[in-house]
Symmetry: D2
Subunit: 97 residues, 4 copies
């Protein structure tokens, strides 16, 4: 197999790209919906609830990307004796928590 | 002035709508950028950093909407003796924290 | 009634103090338990799960303090025409989210 | 060396135990301080700021424990071909984010 994850590239097949991008499209759809709520003078409390849903959707997507990342890039680099990606994970944990 | 915030409606002027929607557009732009990163086989670690930036942008937008909401709907309803919106704020705090 | 909340003081009765302090004691108890886990060479993964439980307990306590605060200090100051405490709430929302 | 991390045990030397427990003691100290604030009728807004500081301190401690965990248990098990701990990390990410 060619490398799936090297030189700061992550090679994804078409199915993986489609899965991730359809999730991102769904979040964009939620945000377009929030724009319509603003235009329609919808109640701020309801807009805030929708924003918290978009926030959860982004975190859920991040956990999927992290899952893929750990099982490919991180796993392979550790097997090859390179532990630098482990520090990146701790840094990402700090950013999201 | 007619009510700005009643019957679960929040009346916004054109400037307020423009300000909120341009912020939402910026977050949508970030997410479109992340889709391009996926298509271009960009490194997962970099995608996760971008997702954490979108997450922060959504929370920052939420705090702006909350600010407006507190200074209009919540303020007015409390002045009129209605405290129901205060419980909504505590519930929103729970959702976002 | 004397003021319950003025000059940056919040007067609490014995029952309220007991309720809050028993919750804080429970979180301290969790943390004492985590110290014992460290001493007993317990698995880091399990320690992290306990830390996430303490984190949730602190946020839950914060939402209770916020609830009291909104229904007393914030409510009263708004009724008296002082809106400065509303900005404090938005700032607290930013800190916790 | 015997295993540092096996059978859901994490062997720590005295220095590591001291480092972790002194951090936990500091958080307990913060919470004892918050109890005194409650007893002294201190302003809820100030109590909430202290609670957000304790929340940050717990997350910071969690990132230190995670860092140790990734560089010992996770690293070693991956080298030995066991990837089960990787799923635990993703689950912990979900709990804290």
């Amino acid at each position: 197999m060619e490398c799936k994850c090297c030189d700061r590239k992550t090679i994804r097949n078409e199915e993986e790209k489609k899965k991730l991008n359809s999730r991102i499209n769904r979040i964009i759809g939620q945000l377009e919906g929030i724009k319509r709520m603003v235009d329609d003078d919808r109640y701020c409390g309801d807009i805030l609830i929708q924003l918290s849903a978009s926030d959860k959707a982004i975190k859920s997507l991040a956990s999927i990307v992290l899952d893929d990342h750990m099982h490919s890039c991180v796993l392979n680099s550790v097997k090859e004796g390179d532990t630098s990606k482990i520090d990146e994970i701790v840094e990402l944990f700090r950013r999201f928590s």
